[in-house]
Symmetry: C2
Subunit: 584 residues, 2 copies
Amino acid sequence: MYIENINSPKDLKGLTIDQLNVLADEVREGVLNRVSEHGGHVGPNLGFTEATVALHYVFNAPEDKIVFDISHQSYPHKMLTGRKEGFLDVAKMDGISGYSSPLENPEYDNFEVGHTSTSVALASGLMKGRDVLGGHENVIAVIGDGSLSGGEAFEGLDTVGEIGTNAIIIFNDNEMSISENHGGIYRNLQELRETNGQAANNLFKAFGLDYIYVEEGNNVGKLVEAFQKVKDIDHPIVVHIHTEKGHGYAPAVENKEGWHYHMPFNREDGSLKNPGNGENMTALLGQWMAEQLKKDPKMVCIAAGTAPAFYFDKERREEAGKQFIDVGIAEEEGVAIASAMAKRGAHPVFSTFATFLQRTYDQLSQDLAVNGNPAVINVLGSSIYGMNDFTHICFFDIPMLSHIPNLVYLAPTTYEELIAMETWAIQQEQYSVAIRVPAYGCAHSLEEVDTDYSQLNKYKVAHRGEKVAVIAVGDFYQKGEAVVNALANDGIDATLINPRYLSGEDEALLNDLKKDHQLVATIEDGSLDGGFGERIARFYGPSDMKVINFGVKKQLYDRYDVNELLRENHLTEEQIVADIKAIL
Amino acid sequence: MYIENINSPKDLKGLTIDQLNVLADEVREGVLNRVSEHGGHVGPNLGFTEATVALHYVFNAPEDKIVFDISHQSYPHKMLTGRKEGFLDVAKMDGISGYSSPLENPEYDNFEVGHTSTSVALASGLMKGRDVLGGHENVIAVIGDGSLSGGEAFEGLDTVGEIGTNAIIIFNDNEMSISENHGGIYRNLQELRETNGQAANNLFKAFGLDYIYVEEGNNVGKLVEAFQKVKDIDHPIVVHIHTEKGHGYAPAVENKEGWHYHMPFNREDGSLKNPGNGENMTALLGQWMAEQLKKDPKMVCIAAGTAPAFYFDKERREEAGKQFIDVGIAEEEGVAIASAMAKRGAHPVFSTFATFLQRTYDQLSQDLAVNGNPAVINVLGSSIYGMNDFTHICFFDIPMLSHIPNLVYLAPTTYEELIAMETWAIQQEQYSVAIRVPAYGCAHSLEEVDTDYSQLNKYKVAHRGEKVAVIAVGDFYQKGEAVVNALANDGIDATLINPRYLSGEDEALLNDLKKDHQLVATIEDGSLDGGFGERIARFYGPSDMKVINFGVKKQLYDRYDVNELLRENHLTEEQIVADIKAIL
């Protein structure tokens, strides 16, 4: 056992290559221990174990700066930089995040990272900063082949090529993104692998970068040799290493997509420790879309690297044929291709998590909404019940999307309403439409839902009472319903409204409420700042109507306890009822 | 004269190459006539005149679809597609926009375009739409070498390579961006030009694309020959044409940067028809930054292709040396490099127009603010008095930036306050800071301004009155002052507040106002939806305080009359005073 004695990269320096090989196996064992108990990214970390050992053997972190891309592959790095307990000791696993984090370790982690395609761009800033301040350290960017398809990665390569001083780009080519790779560049990468890096045409050289190739990317000795060659180099170089995703754990090698990320599992056969149950709105949506493709030959489902996020597995993708396209991890392209497909008369639907849709603000505005092309964007995961990692928070979507001119943003409250909105949005030819797919629970409508949403900003009154109106958004509609029921028990006959449209006000209805209401309460599963509630507060600002907005405070969030978050933000039903009554 | 008889591309079909050459000269003359009278993009359009004539001779628009990138080069296209009067007749010039626009011409313009690097991505959607629907037209994307550095362009190339069916990418290489090009790829492009397209290493081939080279990109005959070769091709191909920016007008050839865009000028010597006068806040900021670089060796100014926007001309850039970097038209990289430079201890300042900053929403959120690195972002042009083209509206910046967690967004009201905020933001090490550079007027402070802004969200009370408080944001502060003065004349002693911070509320102050105020009015030079005013409306929602927000309605805007816009949105001083008095 060497890992026991490794508390910082300095402790690797005296080891032989054979000992480093043993250490790599121990690190792999630690990664497997963590992900099997705790869940996490499996394949990317297993494939990058040897490279991490070699990196920390050759380079001198923290003086030399290593920047991870998306940091799906940073677990081995964490184990070698003083955080091994988070892998070896079940009790300490919660203390370690799944991503690179200076908050967790300011010495060895240079950036909080959880989105792809950023490492080379960030490295360019470390280069430029070093050069201006007169430093001499190595700047090392790690990036996978899947992440390379993102625009920011190319922009970064271009700038690194321009700056021209020391930078070492470890290009970790495991021949996979989350799913298989998609894009023209992957043919060139294949050519490079097949020619042992000798192909005359070379994407990286075209960006002005030097280049070497290492076929055995899971061989510590070969990696050490390559890294020693490029250490302290005076210009940027790409070290293209060919690795195996999931290396060392058979189930992860056999099913690379399924084992990119995994929930806690039994080591012996890879079976889930806690098989899920219950309905999931996004899974139902994926199933509906797959069926709908058969009925509507104009419809095309678009993924940007994350087809599994909307349950388009390999089988479903193959069945869809021409009616499915994965543009790789390239969200900007995802929106642009959707807009132009709609322009040409097809029925495109692009689905991705809200946190990744952040990359498309300008494309949503310019390529899509300014043009008014009738494409559909499914916004996934937007809930405080969604992913809760620092870099993966999805509940700032309403501030982001609802103020973009000419973009209609819909918030269904049930599965049936979701499907009615999807059906309308896909078939209509008038509006660019984004739909906030409910990410909390899977409610169903008891009554018929409307099928036509072309009259914009028409809110739905579920119950007309008096004095208090509750406008409850999307997957917090049921919470609004519960609040109204609780108020009824206290003798208050409150009005209940499903606003449906996040991007505008129903002025007629809101004005009408002034007659016999004193207070409007808004409830949303998202940010207060720039949220739906502020829209209502502005509307009533000059009038006698009081308004109280329930939502989440603007701040950074990381691995929070959702019940605590609810209480802190006065989002439990009891708190909402109490706050409403306090105002009356 | 041939142009008189050209009302659609069909009218070109019978002409000989010699006649097409004459037509190209007539088109050039039309472009010069328009830009000299009306202002507009000069160099890009002059350089693409021959190529446009050849495109419309060989291809069959509107069946074949041409997509322009940023559409700085679409004037010749407009002249050949029924809009020549907008070039030949001074009285009709206002009827034609400076950009590709289906609203203006639904037949021949496929997209509203004004941001760079989108044409190939949009073309990929036309390809995919065509393939799914069973069409057979040519899809043609035009893109310049300057635009190629943007991430979306690379994402588009990658996807076009993947789709693999007919697409013709006209790569218009005039060896210039707005300024000179920056990035590693430009060495490869030079190599391609120098080898007549024969270099073994080829950026476009690395993206999986076929490729041909045309050295004489301003020769109609050569272009016709090349385009005929690729018409109806069954796979994607890049036609790399080497053109001269400003071709045919000596001043524009000699000073390519100065003549990228130009205000109305005298044809004979290129002198301005209406030399500007008066102070300009952004020009003063550029001058201050250039001087500041000399005092602070850690400071670095960053441009993303638009250094002229903050008055960093060639001389200033050269003087700045290592302390200036232009990352090319690559705004995502601009934010990432700024963040990482700050992490490394440098003092980076990235300046660009708000409309282009839209491309960096995720980088501002993830690469910058989640990390809290102390970089400074100067947000330019955010005013209804700024650029007023459809695709260049800059006054939706507050909804975009002020709700991003952990990003401080400041709004100075005068030059002195701007410089005080810049100085503080550049030197401090605690916050990621964006600064809304006043774009309307150039007010000066009569009193000393604060120098320390580290106590976040502390609004400044300029005058403490009662009953009404006016919170006036940034360059509309002077408007607020005028409103308060007008109210004073009516016997109302209103409070005047400069909020300074757009990203948070001064709760203590706002609570204190409740004591002796009935109404708070907010005034901002920007969008109501998601704007600063809504923040105040939400704060006071549950209380007795009334709130009225003055700002601009969310909608698409194009070449509006600013005085009309003010009136329609109740933003004249008289209207604001009247609205306030109506509520009291």
